[in-house]
C-alpha cells in the first residue's frame, strides 16, 4: 500500500505534465496526438527504441542517485553535470593511454578514474561549505562552467597565436577538438551489439543503485547521513561528525556523477568532444526529486526520463514538433512532484493527504 501511494504521485504528475504539454502544443499549433504517438514509438516501438530508452536511462540513474545522495544529507547538488564532465575527462585520459594493458585491469582503472575525478570535483563544494560556509548551490553551478571549460581545454586543438593544444587532443583529428578513441581494452563491452547498442553499463548502474540502498538505509554511515539531512542540530547533539558527513556526502555524490560520465564514455561515445555536455547532470536533479530520493524511485524515474529523451528525436522526426517540448514536460513533472497540492487540485483527489511527498530541503543561504 505504501509503495502504491508513493508511486501514485509521480504517475499522476507525469499524466498532468503530458496533459499540460498537450495544451501548450495546441496553443502553438502543434498536434499533440501525433507528437505523443511519435514519442511512444521512439521510446518503446521496437527493439531499437527500447535500446535507446535503456541507453538514455543509464547515466540518468547515476546522476539521479548522485543528486539523491546529496539530498539525503540536506544538500542540493546542482553540480552533477560538472562532476559528470570531470569524471568523463579523467576516464578518457586513462582509457586512451596504457596500451597493451589487459581489459581486466584497464577497464576498472578507467572507470575508477572517472569515479575519482567526480569525487574530487564534488569534494570541492563540500569542503567550501564546511570551512567557509559557501552555499553548495552557487559553488556547484560555477564549478559546472569551470569543468566544461577545463574539459574543452584538454581537447583544445591549439590556437593561431602559439597556444599549445590540450593534452588529450587527437592530432590526427586536425582542427577538430576531440580525443582519440578509447582503447578497446578500456571499452565497456556490448550486452547487445549494434544495431541495438546496449552496453553492460546499465547493469553496473543498477548494481550501484542496490549498493546505494544498502549504504543509505542499512549502514551506520547512511543513518548518520540521513540524520544530518533531517535535523542538523539533532545530529550535532547526538555526536555525529556533521562536517565529515557533509564533505563525504558531496564527495560520494560527485563520485556517482563521475561514474555516470565514465560509463557514458567508455560504453557509448568512446571519446570526448566538447559538445558532449553534462546535461544529464542537470536532469539528475529532476530524476532524484521524481524518484523521491529513494533508489528504486530514482531507477523508475530515470526510466521515465530515458523514455522521454529516447522518444524525443523520433517525435520530432515523425510529427515535426520540436524536441524541446520534452524539456517543458520534464519541468512540469518536477513542478507537480514537488507540489503535490497542484496535483490534488487538478485531479480533485481529496484523499491524497496534504503533506504527502512534499519535498523540503531549503535551509536558506546560511546553511547550518
Amino acid at each position: 500500500m505504501r509503495i502504491f501511494r508513493s508511486l501514485l504521485i509521480p504517475v499522476l504528475a507525469l499524466l498532468a505534465a503530458l496533459l499540460t504539454g498537450a495544451i501548450v502544443m495546441l496553443i502553438f499549433g502543434d498536434n499533440p496526438l501525433k507528437a505523443y504517438q511519435g514519442l511512444f514509438a521512439g521510446a518503446f516501438g521496437d527493439g531499437r527504441a527500447w535500446a535507446t530508452t535503456i541507453r538514455k536511462m543509464t547515466p540518468l540513474i547515476l546522476t539521479g542517485l548522485s543528486v539523491a545522495y546529496a539530498f539525503k544529507a540536506g544538500l542540493l547538488n546542482i553540480g552533477a553535470s560538472g562532476q559528470f564532465i570531470f569524471g568523463t575527462v579523467c576516464s578518457v585520459a586513462v582509457g586512451i593511454s596504457m596500451e597493451g594493458m589487459p581489459m581486466l585491469i584497464h577497464l576498472p582503472l578507467a572507470i575508477g578514474a572517472g569515479i575519482v575525478g567526480g569525487m574530487f570535483w564534488g569534494a570541492i563544494p563540500g569542503l567550501l561549505k564546511v570551512y567557509t560556509g559557501a552555499h553548495e548551490v552557487i559553488v556547484t553551478i560555477m564549478l559546472n562552467y569551470v569543468a566544461s571549460l577545463f574539459a574543452g581545454w584538454t581537447v583544445y586543438a591549439g590556437g593561431t597565436q602559439g597556444q599549445t593544444p590540450g593534452p588529450l587532443w587527437d592530432p590526427t583529428a586536425g582542427a577538430i577538438s576531440e580525443t582519440p578513441d578509447v582503447l578497446a581494452s578500456a571499452q565497456i563491452p556490448w550486452m547487445f551489439g549494434p544495431p541495438y547498442r546496449v552496453h553492460w553499463g546499465v547493469v553496473l548502474a543498477l548494481l550501484v543503485a542496490v549498493l546505494f540502498w544498502w549504504l543509505i538505509y542499512k549502514s551506520i554511515f547512511g543513518f548518520e547521513l540521513r540524520t544530518v539531512g533531517q535535523n542538523i542540530k539533532a545530529a550535532r547533539y547526538a555526536g555525529i561528525a556533521v562536517n565529515r558527513t557533509i564533505i563525504l556526502a558531496m564527495t560520494i555524490a560527485g563520485g556517482l556523477a563521475g561514474l555516470a560520465g565514465a560509463i557514458e564514455t567508455l560504453g557509448l561515445n568512446h571519446k570526448f568532444a566538447p559538445e558532449f555536455s553534462g546535461a544529464v547532470g542537470f536532469d539528475g536533479i529532476t530524476v532524484a526529486l521524481l524518484g523521491q530520493t529513494h533508489p528504486l524511485g530514482v531507477v523508475l524515474a530515470a526510466f521515465m526520463f530515458g523514455a522521454l529523451d529516447g522518444g524525443a528525436s523520433r517525435m520530432q522526426f515523425e510529427s515535426g514538433v520540436a524536441a524541446d517540448i520534452i524539456q517543458v514536460i520534464q519541468a512540469l513533472v518536477l513542478a507537480f512532484v514537488a507540489a503535490p497540492m497542484i496535483i490534488r487540485s487538478i485531479f480533485r483527489a481529496r484523499w491524497l493527504s496534504e503533506a504527502e511527498g512534499q519535498a523540503t530541503l531549503t535551509t536558506g543561504w546560511g546553511g547550518n
Binding site: 560555477m142 581545454w153 602559439g162 542537470f282 524541446d324 520534452i326 518536477l334
Partner: protein, 355 residues
C-alpha cells in the same frame, strides 16, 4: 543570544568590506584616468587592464548582473529565495525578442519599447509563477527556482524560430556636458538607455528598501513575518508583489541582452548570468549598492577575459581566461557568504495562525 553578537561582528566585517570595495573602485578609477590620459597608454598590459574599452566592457557586462541581483534582492528581502533568476532572465530575453520581431515594421524606438515591455511582462509572469509555486502550493523554493529555469530553457527553445531576425537595437544616448568629462564621461555618460536605467534602479531600490514604508514592511516580512502579521501587514501579498517585481527586473536583464547588447536571441543566451547575479546579490549582502559593487567586479573579470583575448598578450589558453568570472565568483562566495547575513525568514512558508 549568540545570534546578536554574531550580527554585530558581521556588521564590522561588512563595514570593512565596504571600505575595501570603495578603495578598489577609487584605485581603478585613478588608474583608468592615468592610463587613458598620459603616456602610460603605450603599455599594452596597462591598456588591457585599465583602457577605456575595458571599462566600457565592464559596465556592459555588469548591467544584466546588476538587474539580476536587484531582482534577487527584491524577492529575498521579502523572504522568497530566488535561484530562478537565470530562467526569468532567459524568458524575458525571449519575450523581448519575440515581440521585437513581431513589430519589426514599426518605427525602431516604438518596436524596441514593445520589446522592453514584453521583457518586463514575461519576467513578471515568471516571477509570479515562482511566487505561486512557493506560496500557494508551498513548493520548496529552491525546487521552484529549478523548475523556473528548466521550464524557461525548454519553452524558449521550443518556441524559438531560428529564422527570425530582430532589426535594430538601442543605441547610445550621449548626455551633454557630462559626457565630456575625460574617461569617466566616456564610460558613464555615453550609454544605451537600459544601462542608465539599471544604474538609476540601484539608487531607487536603495531608497525604497531603506527609507520608505514599503521597504520597511518588505524587510519586516522577510525578517520576522509573524511580527509583521501581528501589526496588520499581509505577509503573502508582499511576497507575491515583490517576487513579481523581481521577476520583472530579471526579465529586463534579459531584455537588455536582446535589445541592447546582442540584438538577437540565442538559445541559452543568459549563459549563467542569472547565477552570477545571484552570487553578486549574496556578495553584496542583499544591499543594492553592495550588489552594484559585486556586479561591477564580476563584470570587470569578464571584460578582462575579453580584453586579454583581443590583445593577444597572453598564451594562456582561452579556456582558462574564460574561467575567470566563475572562479572569482567561487572565491567571493567562499570568502564572504559566511559573513553576510540573509533575511531571517527566507525560504520558509508563512501561514497565519488563524488558518
Amino acid at each position: 543570544m549568540e545570534g546578536w553578537k554574531g550580527a554585530s561582528v558581521n556588521q564590522l566585517v561588512w563595514k570593512r568590506t565596504q571600505l575595501i570595495s570603495i578603495v578598489v573602485i577609487a584605485l581603478l578609477l585613478l588608474m583608468a584616468i592615468l592610463v587613458n590620459t598620459t603616456a602610460l597608454r603605450q603599455q599594452t598590459w596597462l591598456r588591457v587592464l585599465f583602457g577605456i574599452s575595458a571599462l566600457n566592457f565592464m559596465l556592459r557586462a555588469s548591467v544584466p548582473l546588476i538587474l539580476g541581483a536587484l531582482s534577487g534582492i527584491l524577492c529575498e528581502r521579502s523572504g522568497i529565495i530566488n535561484i530562478g533568476i537565470e530562467g526569468m532572465m532567459l524568458a524575458g530575453a525571449f519575450g523581448a525578442f519575440f515581440f521585437k520581431v513581431q513589430t519589426n515594421s514599426w518605427p525602431l524606438l516604438a518596436s524596441l519599447m514593445v520589446g522592453v515591455l514584453a521583457a518586463l511582462l514575461v519576467g513578471g509572469l515568471m516571477g509570479f509563477l515562482h511566487a505561486l509555486f512557493s506560496i500557494r502550493y508551498r513548493m520548496d523554493q529552491i525546487i521552484s527556482g529549478t523548475v523556473i529555469i528548466v521550464l524557461a530553457t525548454g519553452i524558449t527553445s521550443y518556441l524559438f524560430d531560428r529564422d527570425a531576425v530582430a532589426q535594430g537595437k538601442f543605441g547610445e544616448i550621449r548626455i551633454p556636458l557630462l559626457a565630456d568629462i575625460p574617461v569617466i564621461g566616456n564610460v558613464l555618460f555615453n550609454n544605451p538607455p537600459i544601462t542608465y536605467l539599471a544604474l538609476i534602479l540601484v539608487v531607487v531600490l536603495h531608497v525604497a528598501i531603506f527609507y520608505t514604508r514599503w521597504g520597511l514592511r518588505t524587510r519586516a516580512v522577510g525578517e520576522h513575518p509573524s511580527a509583521a502579521d501581528t501589526v496588520g501587514i499581509n505577509v503573502n501579498r508582499f511576497r507575491y508583489l515583490n517576487t513579481t517585481l523581481g521577476g520583472m527586473l530579471a526579465g529586463l536583464a534579459g531584455g537588455f541582452l536582446v535589445l541592447e547588447a546582442v540584438g538577437q536571441f540565442q538559445e541559452g543566451m543568459t549563459a549563467g548570468r542569472g547565477f552570477i547575479a545571484l552570487a553578486a546579490m549574496i556578495f553584496g549582502n542583499w544591499n543594492p549598492f553592495g550588489a552594484l559593487a559585486a556586479a561591477l567586479l564580476f563584470g570587470y573579470t569578464q571584460a578582462l577575459q575579453n580584453e586579454l583575448l583581443l590583445a593577444g598578450v597572453t598564451t594562456i589558453p582561452r579556456q582558462f581566461v574564460s574561467m575567470l568570472p566563475y572562479v572569482v565568483t567561487i572565491v567571493a562566495v567562499a570568502g564572504f557568504v559566511g559573513r553576510v547575513r540573509p533575511p531571517a525568514a527566507e525560504g520558509k512558508v508563512y501561514e497565519t495562525e488563524a488558518h
